[in-house]
Symmetry: C2
Subunit: 457 residues, 2 copies
């Protein structure tokens, strides 16, 4: 049975029990499910007609700690819907059980009055920490980090540090990577629990720790954080402020979530689709429309240049209507080759494989590869050119194919670098944009070559 089928079944069991007010079954079935699965089931239920009421009822049946966990798996909109129905007292209890990063995220969704009210009822330390975590800009290390890490004061012995780990274990997001800080709170080293466990109990952590710590600044972009975690196979990466003080950590699972959503965003951008706030099957229709329409309409106007090009060459076309036959083929091929080149460059830049300095090298490689591709495609199309319009037309078509594929590929390869230089996201060099640019250029190239060769012939 696949994961989806299992979940669908579990959902029916829960809904049936809820329907019959069968609290026994509910209290038995719910704890056996994992938080991630409950989250998905609840999300599914909330979407259905009148589903929100049932969603709230099921949330109520979860023990507080579980509820806090499940909340972290729900989309913001649903967290908000849940919070709206809950009194401040109950909300505070759940907030307390949430991990510090998820608490700050939910807090940021609430309106200001509610936030003020909640803050007033918190202990001072808690309040300060929440305000701090909630203040970081979205998309930065600060916004995805947690403050539930294990800090070990410099100077401690191994056995003291182990004791500290045991004390902190219930609350810390991870206890497997320990951070050694000086009296000012500055990060001076790191030590894995594994190293600590095999060390002599009387040794000092300062003598065991790795001093050259990989860390990120609190305003570092989250993509870069995810890239470092993946590159160095880290369990967690410490986050420091401008004074080198340790302010949080980003754990591997949060980094993996970032990497996944960045990949989705890149893939969508590659098709000129704006960033969606949720999965495609759930995002509101209006939002889906909005994220797609901008570039489509823009490209309508860009495409008019192709039309203008055609209008300019009306005489050539009228003289040799067979030329139109090859038009979709030529501009389509150029667009495909160019979109491939752009995609390779954009993804290479995103994974860190391609740097700005590699520009010249890639250009040389693309020149060779695209030239070969163009020649291959010209050979494929030449016989059809002869069949449909004779040798001259075949020559025009084959020659145009080489030039258009070469031009399109080079444009596709260079565009991400150019966009990057002017401060845009290279992924803006999406397939639709590249294709449209090549369409317009392809028309000009094709009919220019045709006019030249046919006039001479």
């Amino acid at each position: 049975m696949s994961l989806n089928e299992t979940l669908t079944e579990q959902k029916s069991v829960l809904l049936a029990a809820l329907e019959q007010d069968d609290t026994g079954t509910l209290d038995e079935a719910l704890p056996e499910l994992r938080a991630a699965d409950i989250g998905e089931i609840l999300e599914d239920i909330a979407e259905e007609e009148e589903g929100l009421v049932r969603f709230q009822a099921l949330m109520e049946r979860l023990p507080i700690e579980r509820r806090a966990n499940v909340l972290g798996y729900l989309p913001g909109e649903l967290q908000l819907a849940w919070a709206a129905e809950i009194a401040d007292d109950a909300l505070l209890l759940v907030l307390e059980e949430m991990s510090s990063d998820e608490r700050a995220d939910l807090f940021n969704l609430l309106d200001e009055d509610r936030r003020e009210g909640l803050l007033r009822r918190m202990a001072r330390q808690e309040r300060e920490e929440l305000k701090r975590l909630a203040s970081y800009e979205e998309g930065t290390a600060g916004a995805i980090m947690t403050s539930d890490y294990v800090a070990i004061p410099s100077g401690m012995t191994v056995s003291q540090a182990l004791m500290r780990v045991r004390q902190t274990a219930p609350d810390a997001e991870t206890v497997y990577q320990l951070y050694i800080v000086d009296t000012e709170g500055r990060l001076v080293g790191t030590l894995s629990l594994r190293q600590l466990m095999v060390a002599r109990p009387g040794a000092r952590v300062d003598d065991l720790m790795i001093k050259d710590v990989i860390s990120v600044a609190v305003d570092e972009e989250q993509e870069e954080v995810a890239r470092l975690v993946a590159r160095y196979d880290l369990l967690a990466i410490p986050v420091i402020d401008a004074e080198a003080r340790l302010v949080g950590i980003v754990t591997h699972d949060d980094a993996m979530d970032v990497a996944e959503s960045e990949a989705t965003e890149d893939i969508h951008k590659g098709m000129s689709i704006g960033a969606l706030e949720d999965g495609v099957s759930r995002v509101p229709l209006w939002s889906l429309y909005r994220k797609r329409v901008f570039w489509l309409v823009l490209l309508v106007f860009a495409n008019l240049f192709s039309g203008a090009g055609i209008a300019y060459f009306e005489d050539t076309i009228a003289a040799q209507v067979a030329l139109v036959f090859f038009l979709p083929l030529l501009i389509g091929s150029g667009g495909n080759a160019g979109a491939q080149a752009a995609t390779l460059t954009v993804r290479g830049m995103a994974t860190g494989d391609v740097g700005v300095k590699d520009w010249g090298k890639l250009l040389g490689r693309e020149l060779l590869v695209a030239g070969s591709l163009g020649l291959t495609m010209a050979l494929a199309v030449a016989p059809i050119g002869i069949m449909r319009g004779g040798e001259t037309v075949a020559m025009v078509v084959a020659f145009s194919m080489v030039v258009i594929v070469l031009f399109g590929s080079l444009l596709g390869m260079c565009l991400p670098f150019i966009l990057n230089r002017i401060g845009w996201d290279p992924a803006t060099a999406s397939a639709p944009l590249v294709t449209t640019l090549i369409d317009a250029s392809g028309v000009l190239i094709y009919f220019s070559i045709a006019t030249a060769l046919l006039a001479g012939g």
Copy 2:
């Protein structure tokens, strides 16, 4: 200073020291670098002219354990180049230090004679394990798992288990997640080191462990493994054979690597580019050509249908040449909208957001969104239609736009489901394929509408 700049600088230091045979500097600089960074620097050096000799010399300067680590970060081809220059004795020493999964990968690259020779010189247990790990099919859980995990026999007490962790710590890939096995080697539960550390020393692991373990079969696809690790925020996932015996684990960092390379593959497939064996800046030119040419040439022939369509409607075109003006625009817009729809569906399926059962729901949504998109684009293009060819042409163009965008979007949305149904990878519904199909259909739709409306007018 960016990561790339730092690496370039470190590379120059290493190369200069090597040039001057300055072993002091080398032995000082190398240990300070991280294995991932040394790997990248060495890869860079190996690519340069005569670089392989320098690459080998630098590898020689690394302590054996370091060398084993760095090897894991090098592409297979370079690992092979290195192994070819090394005697069996030296190779065995390094193999021993590698993690079991990387050892099996390198082993699989060697030719059979060499493999046999190496196996003969290994201890029996080592040999059996290596043969086993090397035997799993690429792309499965078995091929990416490691056998360096901590197994705790069922029945042990907490203090016995802690002792076992300390003993295994130097060799295990992770000691933070422990796996409890019965006398037959079957996985019966899991326990985190965190739980173990806070438990009463005399308690039995069987009373503490989680019995409902998330595990994967040894032949499970690696994408699914990565998806489960991400979904349940796991440090590692246990891998079991058909008899439920624990045979290995896949750690979070290996899962993250899989997720990243799968995302890259999906993005490339979205442009009809075959899977590359390395980054785009490093893969051999011939390979880059091969991975791109297949679909490009195939699409050349597919595009001929557009041409055939045009030929069929030659009379309509001759009567109203202004129609050609809008041809690139209409088929381009349909292609863009269709490619967007395909991308959204394919990525949704890859991340697990869209299941096969969501087909009907997505169809309804796409109908509404694509209809709105088509209307918007028709409104944008209608004024130009009036300008260039009068009201009738404007009507033809606007009406065609709605139909083509709607048809293209629905085709793009459905194609991944259809491909999936016939057992193909949904990602084959790439932008070039969708665009080409829509190009051909767009020509037919446009000129059919034109023929009908113009004949009537």
